[in-house]
């Protein structure tokens, strides 16, 4: 018993902690909305049909009322005829007084029913027409607003693309100008460097030549002295 209880607890825990993917997916939400709209529309249609059936029933009842009124009138006429054909002369005024309120009441009821039915029909028709017109207006307004918003969105997108293009062009121009500047700087630096190197080479050459001359001059000063010493040495020997 306890084992089963534990097992049940574990099962509940497992089911409760089971990993559930996040949802519902957007497509499911959209299709559910569409299905709800469809169901609502179907229900409306069924209700309308029921209403029509109810009015048809009322119409049948109305014809029944007519038949009943005619029957009442016929009975009243028969009764009146019977009374009239009776050996005793009937009191016409009394008969009229007895029948008139009944007939009047029947007529009034029938007229009232006619009026009510007509009004109800007119009400339903007007309601349907108004709701249809409202739906049409709403649909038209939605279409217009969607079209307008699309146009505005397109314009904004075009403006955005143009501003992107313009910014890109400006960037390209700036980069080209910077590259040109770098190139001209490089050329100027190269010229200056070559000039400086040429000057340095010339100066070095001049200095070298001067040193060479100094060396030659120095050698020319020192050589005779050496030869004189050699000569003196040889004479001593």
């Amino acid at each position: 018993m306890e084992e089963n209880e534990n097992k049940l607890e574990k099962a509940i825990e497992a089911l409760k902690n089971e990993q559930i993917p996040p949802g519902p997916p957007q497509e499911l939400a959209d299709s559910t909305l569409a299905k709800l709209a469809e169901t609502a529309e179907q229900t409306d249609t069924v209700q309308q049909k029921n209403r029509i059936l109810m009015f048809e029933g009322l119409r049948t009842a109305k014809s029944l009322t007519k038949i009943a009124a005619a029957a009442v009138l016929l009975i009243a006429a028969g009764y009146a005829t019977g009374r009239l054909s009776a050996p005793r002369s009937p009191d016409m005024e009394q008969i009229r007084a007895a029948l008139e309120p009944e007939i009047r009441k029947n007529l009034l009821d029938e007229t009232k029913q006619y009026m009510q039915l007509g009004l109800a029909n007119a009400y339903v028709r007007i309601q349907d027409e108004l709701s249809q017109q409202y739906r049409e207006d709403l649909r038209r307004a939605v279409l217009q607003s969607v079209t307008a918003s699309n146009a505005v969105t397109n314009e904004l997108l075009i403006e955005l693309i143009e501003s992107f293009n313009e910014a890109q062009n400006q960037d390209r121009q700036r980069i080209a100008a910077a590259l040109e500047q770098i190139e001209s700087n490089r050329l100027r630096d190269r010229d200056e460097l070559s000039n400086a190197l040429a000057t340095f080479a010339l100066e070095t050459e001049d200095e070298f030549m001067r040193t060479k001359q100094d060396m030659a001059q120095f050698l020319s000063y020192t050589q005779p002295e050496q030869t004189n010493r050699d000569e003196i040495g040889n004479s001593d020997k």
């Binding site: 089963n4 089911l15 089971e18 949802g23 519902p24 229900t43």
Partner: protein, 169 residues
């Protein structure tokens, strides 16, 4: 006038969780999700709704239990429809996972055999953490009756587990 788009956005995740938890696969959960909202629409036409969250949870539970019942009636075999999303998850302990899967499957099967009201009361209490009073409100019964339903549901589930153990042996 009820704005269903807002309601789906607000309560859709909870309905999805309830449906998926009870049914365990994407296709059935999607069907249950749609049926729940269609039932809610019909309910709204009949009477005024005070608490959409509780109503939708109760309807989702009821529809999911109906679906479970159809599933287990339709297929006599013990296999459960595979949810391919499971294959992508990295599972550190396959044995434990298999045991849990078996337990949840047994519980779903046992729930499908319970009477509708008992199954609903059980799910609302133990899976959706509703109080006795909330369950009673949603099922249109008294709190004491909700307690009785839960007790019966637990007893029947225990019995069902016992039977399944004997069958295994």
């Amino acid at each position: 006038m009820v704005d269903w788009q807002v309601i789906i956005e607000k309560h859709g995740p909870a309905v999805w969780q309830t449906s998926y938890r009870l049914l365990g696969n994407h296709a059935d959960a999607a069907d249950c999700f749609q049926e729940t909202f269609v039932s809610a629409l019909e309910f709204c036409r009949r009477q005024r709704v005070r608490n959409f969250s509780a109503l939708l949870t109760r309807l989702a539970t009821a529809r999911a239990i109906d679906q479970l019942r159809r599933r287990f009636r339709r297929s006599r075999c013990e296999t459960e429809p595979a949810d391919w999303a499971d294959l992508q998850s990295a599972n550190p302990s396959p044995v434990q996972r298999a045991q849990q899967k078996e337990l949840t499957h047994s519980l779903r099967k046992s729930l499908s055999k319970l009477p509708s009201q008992e199954a609903q009361a059980f799910c609302l209490r133990y899976l959706n953490d509703m109080s006795y009073r909330q369950i009673a409100n949603e099922l249109g019964i008294k709190a004491n009756a909700a307690g009785v339903l839960l007790h019966r549901a637990r007893a029947k589930l225990r019995e069902s587990f016992e039977l399944s153990v004997k069958e295994c042996k």
